[in-house]
Amino acid sequence: MSRVLRWRGHAWLAAPVRWYLGGLFLLACWHKIADPGAFALDVATYDLLPLVLVNLMALVLPWVELAAALLLLAGLRVRPAALLVSAMMVMFLLALATALARGLDMSCGCFAAQGADQDPISAATLVRDLVWLGLSLYVVAFDRSLLGLDRLLAARTKARAAEGG
């Protein structure tokens, strides 16, 4: 098991996973930022938050998604960004599971404001989100910012320190 965890290939595998998640969240946040009213309705449809928090959640969440997406794509602050994605995925999973348990026939609201008939929530949506949660945790655990700004900045700082020393 520890040999599997220590495998050097993880760092290389984590990079495309990070880009995939970055692209995914960039795609997901777009319509929510463009039309916060429609997304607020999606949030309200889940019927989980008190009314005072619905709009605030609808406003802030897409920007967190955008920030996490850009950071993952750039390979900057990868661990915090992947942690944010993981936290969001846990939140989405809880909301979805609750909606499914209550038998709500509604749209996921994940990628575009669609009707329940076009983008219905189902057990498949839950499995999909679980996979994405797994991927984000994989990035948290194994990403070493290969081909990313974190590594570039760390190398530059190291070189400066060496020059100074």
Binding site: A44, L51, L59, R102, S145
Partner: protein, 172 residues
């Protein structure tokens, strides 16, 4: 900016929180100038229309002249309004007015289940207004969906039963 890769989890968590707070501030600022911006707190509840699953079960049709309706083992329910039920009702039917917008309260169905147990009835037959849709059929489906077995509805509802009763009284 310099840090070891990977960043320690605790520090990453704190940084994630900072990013989220920064995003919240940015979101509020952008919303203030967004052409489709929304109030930070919704002024009134969203009109969310999510169809909840109807707990509809199977209810079989019963013809108005079916001897089953007269059987001692049949419990009859009137799904029409209280006023209609008071003007005429079949046998000593229990009146449970059916509302198309509100599901029948649990306590009403619990009372029905207790009445059924007391009466030792083996089947429930519901009659309604006989319209399309028929309130009797709807209530029968709702009752069946809540776990009560052997539920039927009178085809044609109360008008059909009244006609049947009138025909019966005219027979020599």
């Amino acid at each position: 900016m310099s840090r070891a890769l990977p960043q320690p989890l605790g520090a990453a968590g704190r940084e994630a929180l900072l990013i989220a707070v920064g995003c919240a501030v940015l979101a509020v600022l952008v919303n203030a100038v967004h052409p489709r911006g929304i109030p930070l707190v919704a002024e009134r509840a969203y009109e969310v229309l999510v169809p909840c699953p109807e707990p509809g079960g199977e209810a079989s049709p019963v013809e108005p002249g079916d001897p089953l309706l007269e059987a001692e083992t049949t419990f009859v329910v009137d799904a029409r309004s209280r006023v209609e039920a008071e003007s005429w009702r079949f046998r000593d039917a229990l009146n449970i007015p059916y509302d198309y917008l509100d599901p029948t309260p649990d306590e009403v169905l619990e009372d029905l289940a207790q009445s059924l147990a007391r009466s030792r009835a083996r089947q429930v037959v519901v009659y309604g207004d006989g319209d399309d849709p028929d309130s009797g059929q709807q209530l029968a489906r709702e009752i069946a969906g809540r776990g009560i077995k052997n539920v039927g509805f009178v085809r044609g509802g109360a008008p059909a039963l009244e006609r049947q009763a009138a025909q019966g009284s005219q027979r020599p």
